[in-house]
């Protein structure tokens, strides 16, 4: 089955893409660039680097834009998926949704409307096992946004390695955050994955942080041989 991967460049959509590849053919990545940083559906930090990730993975990218207004962005997403159907003949869509009913049910509706399959291979997955799998399978991601207490500026640009995950596990217990960042507490950007032919090297980035919220914006990046 030919599938389109709804791809934000973060760990969840990248891992879901890898998982989909173990079972079906991922024909393209689908990405929506939101002009609204508070987008309800699409994560924004560094989504402009998704084309570099697509190149690293050797996958075609179907990209669209949205103003990011609630519900209107769903129509924009639908148009991009429609485009992926026309260009790549996809029969279904894969998402990296973990628990968000808001996200999952809206994408399910779009898929039903377009007569497409919809897959959520990380749906209600065990968060501890998932993060351990990310590391053991060779995914490399950095934290590119923090949007909740107790994250401070030191988290920005930090690699999601064993030490970071251990700290996240402690914070998840002591504060009301999800271990995976599903509640939008933090965002990630993937530099390498098992299906990437090349890895991404961040050459320049700027961190901006103000009262519990911060973004690590990549300004220069390149591909390097693995």
């Amino acid at each position: 089955m030919k599938l389109g991967m709804l791809f934000s460049g973060g760990k969840d959509s990248t891992f879901a893409c890898w998982r989909a590849m173990q079972h079906e053919e991922v024909a393209c990545l689908i990405s929506v660039l939101s002009r609204n940083e508070e987008s309800y559906m699409f994560h924004t930090p560094n989504v402009r680097w998704v084309p570099l990730q697509a190149e690293a993975a050797g996958l075609p990218l179907v990209q669209g834009e949205t103003e990011g207004r609630e519900e209107e962005e769903l129509a924009d997403l639908r148009s991009v998926i429609r485009l992926a159907m026309d260009r790549h003949g996809i029969e279904g869509v894969v998402t990296g949704a973990l628990q968000s009913l808001y996200q999952a049910s809206r994408i399910q509706r779009i898929c039903a409307d377009l007569d497409l399959w919809c897959f959520n291979p990380l749906w209600h997955t065990d968060p501890h096992r998932y993060l351990q799998n990310l590391l053991s399978l060779g995914f490399r991601a950095v934290i590119t946004g923090v949007f909740s207490s107790p994250f401070d500026a030191s988290w920005l640009g930090r690699e999601l390695d064993r030490d970071t995950i251990r700290e996240l596990e402690v914070i998840a217990c002591t504060h009301r955050i999800t271990l995976t960042g599903e509640g939008g507490e933090y965002e990630t950007f993937v530099l390498d994955a098992p299906f990437f032919r090349q890895r991404i090297v961040v050459q320049e980035a700027e961190a901006v942080y103000r009262t519990d919220r911060g973004v690590y914006r990549i300004t220069r990046a390149a591909l390097e041989e693995k």
Partner: protein
């Protein structure tokens, strides 16, 4: 051992993670050993060893199980509690002479209990996650336990602890699966 039956379009499919694993996780966390089998590979040995059986849901577009009624003929013979979730409820309805009607629900809906039963007892109204394209027409003598504005949400065999629920309990209503696992039942 709790036997979990995968109804998805093929064995080891991409849907396994979404519709089978979350249910298996609830069962494991409840302290029971789990055996997952695809509907096409169920053996008499699997069924004989099961203390309870759970039939999982499928993707919205995945109705392959409807065309394979022989995969569910075992339901006439087993005498351990069975819980059919979404597609599992549809399969149970078909196995006992009911039928399916188009009825699409995606997202959360309110479920209202219409009859007292130990499975849903104490939850007269609750919000549940729905992902189905068809509802069921009840098999003869089956009882309706709960409804939404659109269709029957829970049913029960008149004599046996065979339950069907159309909503997905693995999302926000894990208590239904836990309750099913704890139902008192002796094999006669």
């Amino acid at each position: 051992m709790i036997l979990i039956v995968d109804l998805c379009y093929r064995e080891g499919s991409l849907s396994l993670y979404e519709f089978v694993e979350p249910v298996a996780g609830i069962v494991r966390r409840s302290g029971f050993p789990v055996q997952v089998r695809h509907r096409s590979h169920l053996s008499r040995q699997d069924l004989g060893a099961a203390e309870r059986i759970i039939l999982c849901g499928t993707a919205l577009r995945d109705n392959a199980f409807v065309g394979e009624p022989a995969s569910f003929a075992w339901m006439e013979e087993v005498r351990v509690p069975v819980l059919g979730i979404c597609a599992g409820m549809q399969a149970m309805a078909l196995a006992f002479g009911g039928s399916l009607i188009p009825s699409q629900e995606i997202g959360t809906t309110e479920v209202r209990c219409t009859r007292q039963d130990s499975l849903l007892e104490g939850h007269e109204r609750f919000s549940a996650y729905e992902l189905h394209g068809a509802g069921v027409v009840l098999p003869p003598r089956f009882l309706v336990l709960a409804e939404s504005d659109h269709c029957i949400q829970a049913m029960r065999h008149p004599d046996l602890p065979f339950y069907g629920i159309l909503f997905h309990p693995e999302v926000r209503n894990e208590w239904v699966v836990e309750r099913f696992l704890a139902l008192p039942w002796r094999i006669c």
